[in-house]
């Protein structure tokens, strides 16, 4: 298994320093052009945009997911399992199918437009699909359970007596949350954010299907370099950049949040 994981990765690193052959193959001459091409062109902007989209997605998942996970973790024990199970089901369902279900809802002849037209709330179908908003909804929808699961795990473990102690000592609800609850559940936030952030960059089919031709993320770019443009060296360079960026971001996040490596094991 290690062979099938690391040999290919080293291979990609190697290919990223090669040139593209005339017919799309790999020409074995060393070059840094693939990386240069990335850093002084439109691709770099696209990469920054992808990171921005990933941040927005992660942030939205934390903001909406935290109260939700809190709610479940503090509900009566007998309901907790079933409530959590209801979150696990979408977690295990095929992400492509869940993306597709948004097309059914959002397209011009889709459910929302048909309903609104039927009741004469609108006179023309709205353009809900094929824009950045649709891509964001798709990403948040797909990745939301990945945030809720680790959040729930860390909130559930939290000792309530600590919160009582805080309020006994005169902390208001809000203060308790900022000073006690949030720091203690930070491992969950970190784990959830990593689980949401990383896939955002690679889920190329969500921008493909919900964003139409307008939206292009780094995942789509890599996919196109490999399958359409047949420029493997450039695609490899993009992948290496993606790996390095992800690792840097994870490292930064751990440092920033003071989390430990073991936190990932919450998953």
């Amino acid at each position: 298994m290690l062979v099938f994981l690391f040999v290919p990765l080293v291979l990609v690193l190697f290919v990223s320093f090669m040139s593209r052959g005339v017919y799309g193959g790999i020409d074995y001459t060393f070059t840094l052009d693939n990386y240069k091409r990335f850093f002084d062109s439109l691709y770099f902007m696209m990469f920054l945009e992808s990171i921005l989209v990933a941040f927005i997605t992660t942030f939205a998942c934390v903001i909406f997911g935290y109260p939700f996970a809190y709610l479940i973790a503090r509900s009566p024990v007998k309901y907790r399992t079933i409530l959590m199970f209801l979150v696990i089901i979408p977690f295990w369902t095929n992400s492509l199918i869940r993306t597709y279900s948004w097309i059914v809802l959002l397209r011009t002849e889709g459910v929302i437009n048909s309903l609104f037209l039927h009741y004469h709330w609108i006179s023309q179908p709205l353009n809900l699909l094929y824009n950045n908003g649709a891509v964001l909804i798709g990403l948040i929808y797909t990745l939301f359970p990945f945030m809720v699961l680790p959040l729930y795990a860390s909130i559930e473990k939290l000792d309530i007596s600590l919160l009582e102690a805080a309020s006994d000592l005169g902390a208001k609800g809000w203060q308790t949350f900022i000073k006690v609850t949030l720091p203690l559940t930070m491992p969950g936030v970190v784990a959830g954010s990593i689980l949401v952030f990383i896939p955002t960059m690679g889920l190329f089919f969500i921008p493909d299907l919900l964003g139409g031709a307008k939206t292009m993320m780094i995942g789509n770019l890599i996919k196109n370099q490999f399958l359409t443009a047949r420029d493997w060296p450039f695609g490899s360079a993009l992948s290496i950049i993606l790996i390095v960026a992800t690792m840097l971001m994870i490292a930064g996040y751990f440092k920033f949040s003071g989390g430990k490596k073991e936190d990932l094991e919450l998953i």
């Binding site: 990609v12 979408p90 369902t93 199918i97 597709y100 279900s101 097309i103 690679g202 490899s236 998953i267």
Partner: protein, 257 residues
């Protein structure tokens, strides 16, 4: 107090609605008579019937099942060996191996997909069922190992030692003591590997050959040609299959605790 409780419940209901509404509508419209309109015109099973006649879909279903069964079997076998080996023996580089096992869990899937594609093409392995199985084993194993190791951690080593003292050899101890103890974890991890394999889109996208399309890839290509009730029906079947496996694994896990 009651007002905030009401607000909390409403919020919870809204999020569950957000999670389930799109899936529910997909399922409902797979039984809709109309092909073009998103308005309900009558109940029908005909889209399921036409799926059954669609040669591409049937072929994809076959590929999906072959790959899922094979990769589950292989990843569970290798997973047990690695987990038990790491649990029982101390060796050089163990912590390095430990860290490496976590890499697939944090590696962007697309990178794993293209790196395997590059690897297979260098090795001159033609893309097809074999490459799909290898790829699926690669990304399932870490999950299998995590589940089995979790079970092993709570298990008393002295039981194994007692068996050896009583004259059982290593293989016998493994077969009669270790294996039955980790059996629930084996079943849970097998179900996990199976669902991951059935649902994978990204890695399969890169390592499937022209003749070895899996069901998710089939759905992907169908969606690109337009939205039809047939896709709703196929998606509904896949949802049902996943749901079945998830519920089964939950029930099995509950039984052992």
């Amino acid at each position: 107090m009651t007002l905030s409780k009401l607000a909390a419940r409403t919020y919870g209901a809204l999020i569950y609605g957000f999670l389930y509404l799109p899936i529910l509508i997909l399922v409902i419209f797979s039984f809709n008579d109309s092909k073009l309109n998103a308005v309900w015109t009558g109940f029908t099973f005909k889209w399921y019937g036409s799926l059954w006649q669609n040669a591409n879909v049937l072929h994809a279903a076959k590929i999906t099942l072959i790959v899922a069964f094979a990769s589950t079997l292989l990843s569970v076998i290798f997973g047990i060996l690695v987990a038990v080996g790491m649990y029982r023996y101390k060796f050089k580089g163990k912590s390095v191996l430990d860290g490496m096992l976590n890499v697939p869990l944090v590696l962007p899937e697309i990178v794993m997909g293209i790196s395997l594609l590059a690897f297979f093409s260098m090795m001159k392995l033609p893309l097809g069922i074999a490459t799909l199985i290898i790829a699926h084993v690669t990304f399932s194993i870490p999950y299998v190992i995590v589940v089995i190791r979790a079970r092993l951690q709570g298990f008393d080593k002295s039981v194994e030692e007692a068996a050896m003292d009583l004259g059982a050899n290593e293989w016998k101890t493994f077969r009669l003591i270790t294996l039955p103890i980790i059996q629930p974890a084996i079943i849970a991890s097998a179900l996990l590997a199976f669902t991951i394999s059935i649902d994978d889109v990204i890695v399969s996208f890169f390592v499937a050959g022209p003749g070895s399309t899996t069901l998710p890839l089939q759905i992907f290509s169908m969606v690109r040609f337009g939205v039809t009730p047939e896709i709703n029906a196929l998606s509904t079947i896949m949802l049902a299959a996943t749901l079945f496996v998830v519920i089964l694994s939950e029930l099995l896990q509950k039984k052992q605790t």
